[in-house]
């Protein structure tokens, strides 16, 4: 099974960079056939990352009003992401749109898992907040387990 793990985010915008933090924590620690990528979330790049993959795990920050650090794990192959996780709706930008675009084109990997980590702040130049950094470590561990158990 070909798998790619994609961390999505912008490291210069505080907690928005959490997906990248998770990707960097996983880099080099996973089986060789698992690709780890970083992406700014521009959907076409995500689609390209998924090409030829049977399985993808995407990690992104969310901004839904939940407690900072809240972790959600969604099986995107089962259906659309919940609306609170799709930040932009009118025009394509972001993970939810990439998932739906891929689904519409038959390009969504058979297993597509999205981890959302609720951010506290998205200020330009800010550091990752503490609850979000803690959640990032938990998500990285969870992805490692998930890949080992073949869930």
């Amino acid at each position: 099974m070909t798998t790619c793990v994609v961390g999505v985010g912008n490291e210069l915008r505080g907690d928005d960079g959490v997906g990248l933090v998770v990707a960097r924590a996983l880099e080099g620690t996973l089986p060789k056939d698992v690709r780890v990528l970083e992406c700014e979330g521009e959907p076409v790049s995500l689609l390209a990352a998924w090409e030829d993959c049977d399985r993808t795990i995407v990690v992104d920050a969310t901004q839904s009003g939940a407690q900072p650090g809240t972790i959600r794990r969604i099986a995107a192959h089962d259906g659309p992401l919940p609306p609170e996780l799709s930040r932009s709706s009118t025009h394509l930008l972001g993970v939810a749109e990439a998932v739906e675009l891929a689904r519409a084109l038959g390009r969504l990997p058979g297993r597509a898992i999205v981890y959302g980590i609720e951010g506290a702040g998205f200020e330009t130049g800010a550091e990752i907040s503490e609850p979000v950094a803690t959640a990032a470590a938990l998500v990285a561990a969870s992805i490692r387990r998930e890949l080992e158990s073949g869930r």
């Binding site: 912008n10 210069l12 915008r13 928005d16 992406c39 700014e40 979330g41 521009e42 959907p43 076409v44 790049s45 689609l47 390209a48 901004q63 930040r87 932009s88 709706s89 009118t90 025009h91 394509l92 930008l93 972001g94 749109e97 739906e100 675009l101 519409a104 084109l105 998205f122 330009t124 130049g125």
Partner: protein, 435 residues
């Protein structure tokens, strides 16, 4: 005025956002007439200007590339040019050809994203590219492949698809081999054919009526269609200045309703940068096939309907493919990847044509090559006034439209400018205030 007579409705629309900002558009109407249109732009690259101070001149391309995920090359090029102008160095020959090639990759990628995925849905009456993929998967598949080809050019020349890491002041860390570039040719030939088809498709769209009397401003690249550089700034009303005099003619001012700076030409007013401006000023310098496609599409030599920018972008897509193919055909591996740069204290200026228009950088360096001051003027802040004027004219002419329809049309009108994602516009809410 009674409460019943003052009715303010707020319609929120998420647009161009990964991270929430405060940008928005406010239309004030009184007695069915539009009295004011204000566009709030959330975030100019001021954080980066501050972040650059104290850094070495050589760090500027890597830092500024981070400003925009869609046009990192534009930021890299403008900053390199500014530093090189100060050092009295010119990156020429094949080193420069590679820069132009890298920039073509960015144009292909960015224009594809905008034409197919962002703007076309507005014209076709679908909510998004996702909906478009359901009714016309072929069109979206074409866009994905085109964009991937742009990415590939950037990967081979720039070392990476997003935020190329191979660019440095003076040239490159490593230059590609001839074979590496030649491997891009079949894809680029496909991309050119797809772009020509794209011109035909978008030329057949229905364009809302709007004709504006713009002053078009673009770089002048001495006989080339301006992309990666340009020594002068020219306009359709006779502006013709070296870019070092940018701030002698362009005034940036804070406007009350926006965090952003609005630019205008001193004693002249608003101006427009981007595809329409490049086309108006340099149409004759397009590749023969791009020019023929423009003629076949029925584009007049000066396009004043901003909605037709989608066609001009598609024409530029053809040009970018042609230009990339031409540069690859003429490529010879340079003996050295870069020219030596000895930084000089003083003021340096650089400008290039980002896909969405002129991107100007100015730096002041200290004696050790450290950045004392940085100033970045992105295309979207230069276009901000024109966008507002378009919206004013458009909303005035269509005030009777139902609000939802009006909102969609306003979004479409703003998208005519392909506003920057992370550098300027962030999150658009539309508020229509009817008094």
């Amino acid at each position: 005025m009674s409460d019943a007579a003052t009715k303010t409705r707020t319609i929120r629309t998420d647009y161009l956002a990964r991270v929430e900002g405060e940008g928005g558009m406010r239309v004030r109407m009184r007695g069915g007439k539009v009295v004011d249109v204000q566009l709030k732009i959330y975030e100019p690259p001021r954080f980066f200007e501050a972040f650059l101070r104290g850094r070495q001149f050589s760090e500027a391309p890597d830092i500024t590339a981070r400003i925009c995920g869609i046009c990192p090359v534009a930021y890299q090029m403008s900053s390199c040019l500014a530093m090189e102008s100060l050092a009295g160095a010119e990156v020429s020959g094949q080193l420069r050809a590679l820069r132009r090639l890298l920039y073509c990759g960015e144009w292909i990628e960015s224009h594809t994203l905008h034409v197919f995925m962002l703007h076309a849905p507005d014209f076709l009456g679908v909510a998004s590219a996702v909906e478009l993929a359901k009714i016309n998967p072929g069109l979206v598949e074409t866009a994905l492949r085109l964009k991937k080809i742009g990415n590939e050019v950037m990967r081979v020349v720039g070392g990476r698809e997003v935020h190329p890491i191979n660019v440095k002041v003076g040239g490159w860390y490593k230059t590609p081999t001839r074979a590496q570039l030649e491997a891009l040719v079949p894809d680029l030939e496909w991309a050119k054919a797809a772009s020509l088809e794209a011109v035909r498709v978008v030329a057949g769209l229905e364009f809302p009526r709007l004709e504006q009397d713009y002053e078009f401003v673009a770089l002048d690249a001495a006989g080339e269609y301006p992309i990666d550089r340009g020594g002068r700034l020219v306009s359709t009303r006779g502006l013709d200045i070296p870019i070092a005099e940018f701030f002698d003619h362009v005034v940036e001012e804070h406007v009350e309703h926006s965090n952003a700076l609005h630019a205008h030409l001193r004693e002249r007013g608003s101006y427009l940068v981007g595809p329409l401006a490049r086309f108006a000023l340099h149409r004759g310098l397009l590749s023969p096939d791009a020019l023929a496609a423009a003629d076949e599409a029925g584009l007049e030599p000066v396009v004043r309907n901003p909605f037709k920018s989608i066609v001009v972008r598609a024409v530029e897509l053809v040009h970018a493919c042609d230009e990339a193919l031409r540069l690859i055909a003429a490529y010879e591996e340079p003996p050295e990847p870069a020219v030596a740069i000895v930084p000089q204290p003083g003021w340096g200026h650089g400008a290039s044509e980002a896909p969405r228009g002129v991107l100007y950088h100015r730096y002041r360096l200290g004696p050790g090559g450290e950045i004392l001051d940085a100033k970045i003027v992105p295309p979207t802040s230069q276009n901000q006034r024109s966008i507002e004027e378009d919206l004013l004219a458009f909303v005035s002419a269509h005030a009777a439209l139902p609000e939802e329809e009006l909102r969609l049309r306003c979004e479409q009108a703003i998208r005519n400018y392909d506003p920057c994602i992370s550098c300027a516009t962030h999150f658009l809410t539309l508020e229509v205030e009817r008094e």
